[in-house]
Amino acid sequence: MKAAVKRRKKISVADFSFRFCNMIFMILFVVITLYPILNTLAISFNDGTDALRGGIYIWPRLFSLKNYYTVIQKDDLITGAFITVMRTVIGTLLSLVTNAILAFIVSRKRFLFRHQLSLFWVITMYVNGGLIPTFLLYKGLGLTNSFGVYVIPGMISAFNMLVIRTYMNGIPDSLEESAQLDGAGYTTIFVKIISPLCKPVYATIALFVAVAQWNSWFDAMLYNRMSDNLTTLQYELMKLLSSVTNQSTSAEVMKNASGSVTPTSVRAAATMLTMLPIVCIYPFLQRYFVTGLTLGGVKE
């Protein structure tokens, strides 16, 4: 009896210390994750030249809105923001519709080329032409220096299609059959019956595609470098970053600026503005990306 009590006590001490360590670990994790972001936020609201002295952590020392003011006055950044919003909206819509149609087709049990069409797309996940042939192809198709290069090439992706297909496979066939008895064609079945049931998986894919669109910069650099009116937010941010790292240019920019903003502080403001939409949206969509990731793990 006594021994049992002793033992229980011992376990609870071990338990307590484990929980305590775990909590410390989690707090440390949260601090490491959030600190750099909060630090950037503080710098973005701080006077630029004052920030160069260092010592700013998560609260601005000399409050100033000049950085944000400078950002909204930069034409390139405004153009970039517009193009980024456009490519995110159009790209996500196109991608969602085409992937959904493809997933619908390959999840129809009666479809004659079901396995062939699936295989055709699964292969593209593992084999691709590589950078140079792709570059030459886009050039040949006239996609370079055009908005199309942002939304057309990656439109259908095998991975996204497979996620939607897995979800559609879980919908009972009887729904399709009874609709067919009522005389519905495949278009009606897709639009009126299957799609409403697929809302969660559509949301997942839309989120994945939208984030990828919002964050991509490489296509802007590689294909649309010559077209300033097709620049994107991330690409402009990258230019700001290299102007910060490159000391000579940064000194030059500083001289041109009114003295209270620096490339570092302007970049901090631009970074915060770029981050803002994503930070506002993602917490509310958590359950969708959990769905997407678990479905994505189940292939074929």
């Binding site: 972001i37 710098i43 691709n128 439109m155 910069w217």
Partner: protein, 319 residues
């Protein structure tokens, strides 16, 4: 009524295969038309670039095109493998790929297990939500943050100096020995929370009775993690490992491109950067394509091998 029995019959039939017939084609007209457009799209954007592989075996000149450039066989591949830079680039890609793979795997699993052990539900939710955040940031933003944190007056140098680990600030981006570590850390920072999602889902799916039974048998917390949680998420770990091993050569482009500089390029350049540099900037399309083909082939071989191993061990497979 008769239609219904027919439909039922068809349903049994479906398990085998729908026979090709004009009646069936007519019935599926919409599906066939749509798949036609989709296949055309796929051929143009995914299969046509494969034809460009021919360039690697030619003395490719843009004005002659693929069909009229002279054939040189494996000359470009010989050039590639006698280029010391390319061999170094392969080493860098493999090293960073493997380091990142192992580092992000271990941290994600550890994080998922520890988060699961957190008693407070609210706390769990908050930590998890915060942990996803970095995944949604672009590499541009992440490298910008890294530059700030690791700069001479950045927080890392400051903390290290306060702790008297160093007495002079280090310029992390100027020394080759730090680069791989920085890349690994950046990957951990960005993806730990995101990668943990799937493990947490797997842990949630474990039967709670198993934990209770283990507790009754006198298993402590670590025993339960070792004997219940770990076996429970093992299939998930294996399938993700398979996916990621096949992708090991794809691991390096954005961050290395954005963080690399002249001082560290010996360790920072990856195959993709090499292709970009030689293929696009220097205009040697053939050499760039050859390097790309090498990468694709190694990736495919890796995928086939891990798939075979998984099949042999009776685990889940990729395809």
């Amino acid at each position: 009524m008769s239609y219904r029995t027919k439909a039922k019959k068809n349903k049994n039939h479906q398990e085998t295969k729908i026979q090709f017939s004009w009646k069936e084609v007519k019935r599926q007209k919409v599906l066939l038309i749509w798949s036609f457009f989709i296949v055309v799209y796929g051929i143009v954007f995914y299969y046509l670039p494969l034809a460009g592989w021919a360039m690697a075996f030619e003395n490719y000149k843009p004005k002659d095109g693929i069909f009229h450039s002279s054939f040189v066989g494996l000359k470009k591949f010989n050039m590639l493998f006698s280029d010391e830079t390319f061999l170094r680039v392969i080493r860098n890609t493999l090293a960073m790929g493997v380091i990142n793979l192992i580092a992000t795997f271990i941290t994600a699993i550890l994080f998922a297990i520890l988060l699961n052990e957190l008693k407070s539900r609210g706390g769990k939710k908050i930590v998890q939500t915060i942990s996803y955040l970095p995944h949604f940031l672009s590499w541009i933003i992440v490298t910008g943050i890294l530059h700030d944190a690791l700069s001479g007056s950045g927080i890392i140098n400051e903390v290290l100096m306060k702790l008297h680990i160093i007495d002079q600030s280090i310029n992390f981006f100027a020394h080759t020995q730090y680069f791989w570590l920085i890349v690994a850390f950046a990957n951990i920072w960005k993806e730990t929370g995101w990668n943990a999602i799937i493990y947490l889902a797997a842990i949630t799916a474990i039967d709670p009775n198993l934990y209770e039974a283990a507790a009754i048998d006198g298993a402590g917390r670590f025993d339960r993690i070792k004997h219940v949680t770990m076996p429970g998420i093992k299939p998930t770990i294996i399938i993700l490992l398979l996916i990621n091993v096949g992708n090991v050569l794809n691991a390096g482009f954005e961050i290395q491109y954005l963080l690399g500089n002249g001082l560290v390029q010996r360790v920072s350049q990856t195959i993709d950067i090499y292709v970009l540099k030689w293929g696009i900037s220097q205009g040697d399309y053939a050499l760039g394509t050859a390097a790309g083909i090498f990468k694709s082939l190694v990736s495919i071989i890796l995928i086939v091998i891990v798939n075979k191993i998984a099949k042999h061990n009776g685990e889940e497979r990729l395809f």
